[in-house]
């Protein structure tokens, strides 16, 4: 008996070891297999596009795809996935041939998609001029456009109009003074992601000291040179410590995303910095809000990060012409962009659509804030910056560290991570 069992195991083991060379993610194959099977069964039929999307936007894409299918006869299959999973899955599955033709994605993935060789360029032709500059800039890498931008988002200053009826002051100090006058518990509240630190939400304050995360070229593209060193960086570090728990107590690492939102929604703070995603939390709590650009803490314009969402074309797609045609002729249209906005309200990247939806004062506020902003760097190095950067800011706000020493330590760590 034992011999039989062993031989069964041996045969199966050998065959499976042979399988190691093949596909690595079995479950994802099912849909692909079916698609491939259909294709081979009817070779005369045109190719099918596979698009990855998250659930919110899948329907809007399907609507745009209907026109496309009617006019070209090509079927579009929208596969819904968790947005957080798309990046890693796209990186892993495109090389195996299991990836989609197109995927929705964030522009800051671009750097890693490029060095991993999984993304193709897109040529929008003259249509490029119809998009917001910052959106095209964000999807551009080394002079090449790598995707169709469709939406942008940024953080802005949110004001409780009941507590603070006047438009937002231009500087941090004036805002804090105005905030203290309202008599609310806190003059200002902001998400610090608890003890982890949140350099993303704080970034507008940092740039107002002239300390961008990476140095920018004249055309707005980022170099791999860290821009946070020097006097601007130290001034910002100083500012964090002064206003943190060891100083004025205006900033705190006790505030997580939920706590910051709750304080604002409870009417305990007249001002906060947050993105459009937080607005429903406030309005549902009965707070009337106004949205304006973030006030400057230093001498320069407070430029928050602008994140851009778009469609990427797989470098291994077998239907590139069809996919590009879908993007440039069917997605880059006001109708499709409006449908995407209706499905998931993010500020459209297509200028005409953005202006159309800017009748809503909240959208107009975020649009104005994004026009002050700079795209989040999409270079691969960006992904390695967060950990050190967040931690340094959290330590400074908590009052655990000397500003200059902590900032220098962060710069040294970044140097080791990026160049080591």
């Amino acid at each position: 008996m034992r011999k039989t069992t062993l031989s069964v195991a041996a045969v199966a083991a050998v065959s499976l070891l042979a399988a190691c060379g093949g596909g690595e993610t079995e479950p994802a194959e099912t849909t692909e297999d079916t698609a491939a099977a259909e294709e081979s069964a009817a070779p005369e039929a045109s190719g099918n596009l596979v698009i990855w999307s998250d659930e919110e936007r899948a329907e809007a894409i399907e609507t745009a795809a209907e026109t496309f299918t009617a006019e070209t006869g090509a079927e579009v299959e929208v596969v819904t996935k968790n947005f957080e999973d798309i990046r890693a899955d796209f990186l892993a599955q495109v090389p195996t041939g299991e990836g989609p033709d197109l995927t929705i994605g964030a522009h800051d993935w671009l750097g890693s998609l490029i060095v991993n060789g999984v993304v193709d360029t897109v040529d929008l032709g003259a249509t490029v001029d119809e998009f917001e500059d910052v959106a095209i800039e964000a999807m551009t890498y080394d002079g090449q456009l790598y995707g169709l931008p469709y939406a942008q988002e940024t953080v802005a200053l949110i004001r409780n109009t009941e507590l603070a009826p006047d438009p937002v002051p231009a500087t941090w100090d004036e805002m804090i003074a105005a905030g203290e006058e309202t008599g609310a518990d806190l003059p200002f509240v902001i998400n610090t992601a608890g003890a982890d630190g949140d350099a993303y939400t704080y970034y507008a304050f940092q740039t107002s000291f002239g300390a961008p995360v990476f140095e920018q070229n004249a055309d707005g593209s980022y170099t791999t040179e860290i821009g946070m060193g020097g006097d601007g960086g130290y001034a910002y570090a100083e500012w964090l410590a002064e206003n943190g728990q060891g100083g004025e107590g205006l900033l705190s690492t006790d505030w997580t995303y939920d706590i910051a939102n709750q304080e604002f929604a409870d009417g305990n703070a007249p001002y906060t910095v947050a993105g459009p995603w937080a607005i429903p939390t406030y309005t549902d709590a009965g707070i009337d809000v106004a949205v304006e650009p973030v006030p400057a803490a230093g001498d320069e314009t407070a430029a928050p990060f602008v994140g851009v969402q778009g469609f990427y074309l797989s470098a291994q797609s077998e239907n590139k012409l069809l996919a590009t045609s879908f993007l440039t002729n069917y997605m880059a249209t006001p109708e499709a962009m409006q449908a995407m906005y209706d499905a998931d309200p993010r500020i459209p990247a297509l200028t005409a659509t953005a202006e159309a939806v800017a009748e809503d004062p909240i959208v107009a506020g975020f649009l104005a804030a994004s026009q002050n902003g700079a795209p989040m760097p999409s270079i691969p190095e960006m992904g390695d910056v967060w950990d050190h950067w967040n931690a340094a800011e959290a330590a400074l706000i908590a009052g655990d560290a000397e500003p200059e020493a902590a900032w220098d330590k962060m710069l040294a760590d970044l140097d080791a991570t990026l160049n080591g």
């Binding site: 008996m1 034992r2 039989t4 069992t5 069964v8 195991a9 045969v11 199966a12 083991a13 065959s15 499976l16 042979a18 399988a19 060379g21 093949g22 690595e24 194959e29 297999d33 491939a36 099977a37 081979s40 045109s46 190719g47 070209t72 006869g73 090509a74 990186l91 090389p95 490029i114 060095v115 991993n116 060789g117 193709d120 360029t121 032709g125 080394d142 002079g143 090449q144 608890g194 003890a195 006790d254 997580t256 939920d258 706590i259 470098a315 077998e318 239907n319 590139k320 012409l321 069809l322 045609s325 993007l327 440039t328 002729n329 691969p380 390695d384 967060w386 931690a391 760590d413 080791a416």
Partner: protein, 534 residues
């Protein structure tokens, strides 16, 4: 597995009966038909997508299944086959694949094959020429030969192929911006193009030179209706395995050791490919300064965390189990149910709740405001307290398990033993030490070991509660005081963003597996000794 299965059965089972009702046999036939159908379907799908490994594996599994279940012998095989298949698919395959990845440099910048890296580099370095015109395009063909027909700004039609630069074609008929007929060529309309994947590929690959000068770029199209001038700045020579930058003249040579294109001055092209690196990843964890320091600290803390968590929750669970076993206690049923509650919540949810409750600001953190008189205690940011918090929360989460297990085990102890002990004059402590505990340990030790293995890799609690923080201040690696080995591997693998190093992460996983496996093996061996008490 008994040894006497070779003895001839007195009567065939229902599953073999050809006569009588034969229901068993019918069910078996249906089931086996389904198994065969699924196996063949998988094999066929694999054939379609050229996955030969999957094809061979699924066919082999089907054949083995048929042999095992239709043979009169191989009784043990009939029971073991399903389990073995799952073992192979979910354990052996995963382990073998992890081992394979551990010996490569798979990670950011080394994501795929050299062929795909070359493709990607060529894509990235073929750019539209600044200021060059974009013209409306019609695809034309002459038999197998494809060409571009464009209408320039003056309305003049130009035609060209891969060999012939664009040249005026005076006899063309134009409808709007679309060329409808042309001497020597057949115009391909858009619907025909979009319905023909093979043609699309040829069209995408077609480059029509702008002039006889090869360096001035060539027309290409991306979506079939517009042609733009592109120029490539990288030249791939497959024979020599070199990439030449045509603007600077730098020659990059494919380096099979590192999986990158390297120039003489050491500069590299951004896209590399996956190559084998032997055991480099295994040594890196111990030798690389950024990792070796934290690695030992994290290993020590992982052991401390696993032993303390399991030990404390076992003791607490046991204590409560013994307490609630006392029949004089009232409301035992209700209390027991309440104790099980923490166990009933999903761990990630409880961990997130605890994270909120442990907020150091007493206005937000209920722990500090209720139990510590509103003092500010840095539960999650002080290195020592963060460890205490993790062990504490894990204790809260896991003691109900041991409470349940110990209650069950205690109730199954024969009561004669307790009576005998009492008659022999043993006090309660003596009774517990000499009789109850050894007997309880026999049944709970395997569970203690599996708990240990689980806690050793308890990613969720660390990730959700502290995220590994507070961070080490003496290293540049993004690791912290409460990181355990598995969260360290997660950080290094870079799936959450940042640069990934799957090779190193796989190597570390294997080391962790060896540690857990080794400890479990030793512990199980000792369990057998415990059984000799009886």
């Amino acid at each position: 597995m008994s040894t006497d299965t070779t003895a001839a059965p007195v009567r065939d089972s229902h599953a073999r009966a050809w006569e009588g009702t034969g229901w068993g046999f019918a069910v078996k036939l249906v089931l086996m038909a389904a198994v065969n159908a699924i196996g063949l379907y998988v094999a066929w799908s694999a054939w379609d997508v050229d996955q030969w490994g999957v094809l061979v594996a699924s066919l082999a599994l089907v054949v083995v299944a048929d042999v095992v279940y239709f043979s009169r012998r191989r009784i043990a095989g009939k029971y073991l086959y399903p389990g073995l298949v799952f073992l192979l698919l979910f354990q052996v395959f995963t382990m073998a694949y992890t081992l394979y990845v551990a010996t490569t440099n798979y990670g950011t910048g080394h994501n795929s094959t050299q062929e795909q890296a070359v493709e990607a580099l060529l894509i990235q370095n073929e750019r539209p020429v600044d200021g060059a015109p974009t013209y409306p395009l019609t695809i034309v063909r002459d038999g197998e030969d494809l060409g571009f027909a464009v209408v320039d700004d003056s309305g003049q039609v130009l035609v060209g192929t891969a060999d012939e630069p664009l040249a005026p074609a005076d006899d063309a008929v134009v409808d709007g911006q679309v060329v409808t007929s042309l001497d020597g060529f057949e115009a391909v309309d858009l619907p025909t193009l979009l319905a023909d994947p093979a043609l699309q590929e040829d069209v995408l690959e077609l480059r029509v030179p702008t002039s006889d000068d090869a360096d001035s770029g060539s027309y290409r199209t991306r979506e079939g209706t517009r042609a733009t001038v592109y120029a490539s700045s990288l030249d791939w020579d497959p024979e020599a395995g070199t990439m030449t930058d045509t603007t600077t003249g730098t020659v990059y040579t494919a380096d099979g050791e590192t999986g990158q294109f390297v120039a003489e001055d050491g500069s590299t092209l951004p896209v590399g490919w996956r190559v084998g690196v032997g055991f480099d990843n295994f040594t890196k964890a111990f030798t690389d300064d950024d990792y070796s320091g934290p690695f030992w600290k994290i290993t020590a803390w992982t052991f401390a965390f696993a032993f303390l968590s399991v030990g404390l929750s076992f003791l607490l669970g046991l204590a409560i189990a013994l307490l609630f076993d006392d029949k004089r206690l009232r409301g035992r049923a209700v209390m027991r149910t309440l104790f099980i509650l923490p166990y009933a919540f999903p761990v990630f949810l409880s961990a997130l709740l605890w994270r909120g409750m442990l907020n150091s600001n007493p206005d937000y953190g209920i722990i500090n405001s209720l139990f510590f008189f509103g003092q500010r205690i840095e539960w999650l940011t002080d290195p020592f307290l963060a460890k205490v918090a993790i062990i504490g929360v894990n204790l809260w989460l896991t003691f109900p398990y041991f409470f349940l297990v110990c209650t069950g085990a205690k109730q199954s102890l024969p009561s004669e033993l307790s009576e005998a002990a009492r008659i022999d004059g043993a006090g309660p402590w003596r009774h517990f030490r000499a009789i109850q505990l050894p007997l309880l340990l026999i049944s709970t030790t395997p569970l203690l070991i599996s708990s240990f293995a689980f806690t050793f890799n308890n990613f969720v609690i660390v990730y959700m509660l502290t995220g590994g923080g507070p961070r080490f201040t003496d290293t540049s690696a993004p690791l912290g005081h409460t990181d355990i080995l598995i969260t360290m591997i997660y950080q290094i693998s870079g799936v959450q963003g940042g640069s990934a190093d799957y090779g190193l992460a796989s190597a570390l996983s294997i080391l962790v597996f060896l540690v857990v496996g080794g400890i479990s093996a030793v512990a199980f061996r000792r369990t057998r000794k415990l059984e000799e008490v009886l």
